[in-house]
Symmetry: C2
Subunit: 188 residues, 2 copies
């Protein structure tokens, strides 16, 4: 590990430890610098502001789960949704995710950082699996993006809007509904 890599690792670790202890709004570059034992300029040489730094820290130490891709997507995605809702129910990662998505509503630069560092890499990986499942006939044809949005959207909706986190049973029921369709017999 070079000196630069070591310094990066120390800063990320300090940032993550602070995320565990404090709400997003109370974590500052100042606190991170003090905890890491570095000067603020050392941090600012690498990160423009605290948001991207905290995102990097979470990516490093507590990344959102990815779909494992064991072959049968409808089963893999159930496992993944369970780990996602556990992640979002966790007092540290769930709180951080709600706070950061709250903060991106009034901060376009942070929204870009969130998208690049956290959302897009997972989504890209998941889309590959969805496309494969569409080609094999496991999922119906159509926009893989819309399909992922349909499946994952309400998990975030519960976290952010209704504030009633999903249980494993509810997520199973929701996934069955998304796969089988909401239309009744009269309507098929």
């Amino acid at each position: 590990m070079t000196r630069t890599e070591r310094s990066r690792a120390v800063i990320l670790r300090a940032a993550y430890d602070l995320i565990v202890e404090f709400p997003y709004a109370e974590v500052t570059i100042e606190k991170i610098a003090a905890r890491a034992g570095v000067g603020k300029p050392t941090i600012y040489r690498r990160w423009p502001s605290k948001g991207p730094l905290l995102l990097d820290a979470v990516v490093e130490y507590a990344m959102l789960p990815e779909v494992a891709g064991a072959g049968e997507l409808t089963r893999d995605i159930r496992t993944w949704l369970h780990s996602l809702i556990d992640y979002l129910a966790d007092p540290v990662t769930g709180r951080f995710m709600a706070e950061i998505v709250g903060a991106i509503q009034i901060d376009a630069e942070l929204a870009r950082a969130w998208h690049e560092r956290m959302f897009a890499p997972i989504r890209e990986r998941n889309l590959v699996l969805v496309r494969a499942a569409q080609q094999s006939g496991e999922l119906r044809a159509g926009s893989p993006d819309l399909l992922m949005d349909l499946i994952v959207g309400q998990v975030w909706f519960r976290l952010l809007v209704t504030k009633r986190p999903l249980s494993h049973d509810e997520v199973d029921e929701m996934l069955d509904l998304a796969l089988a369709g909401a239309a009744g017999e009269r309507n098929r």
Copy 2:
């Protein structure tokens, strides 16, 4: 209109006018009082803080649409989703909704006010229609709440998380998917 009602109406109008002009974070009780020509104590007699007041102003002047309930829910809900995404794409109401849902991530009291004043009344009304559609066989049996979450969740997910608002065409495709199911032929 009594004097109290008139004063309430003047305050709500001032608050809404400020929402149109300023981001949520910049609207203050002070500005509302000045615009309404009343003292701050007059406002605080009725509202504990600016959040519930601004929510009341939006409920009064620009409420989220409700499902019309013309009889065939799958058609009504399509119309409603179109009006919902237009509402969330609107520079005033969409911005306000994103900002207020952003703010409830770190403000439990505001979260309660948002839920009571805005979310719950619309959801309750929609659930009545979903239950009727389930009884008629238009929608399949199951939790009406989960079904509404599935349909509406990704609209908010797009607004809040991916920041890629839905078009009418996309919402139609998403609704078709939710109704028909995402499973492919191999998987039915």
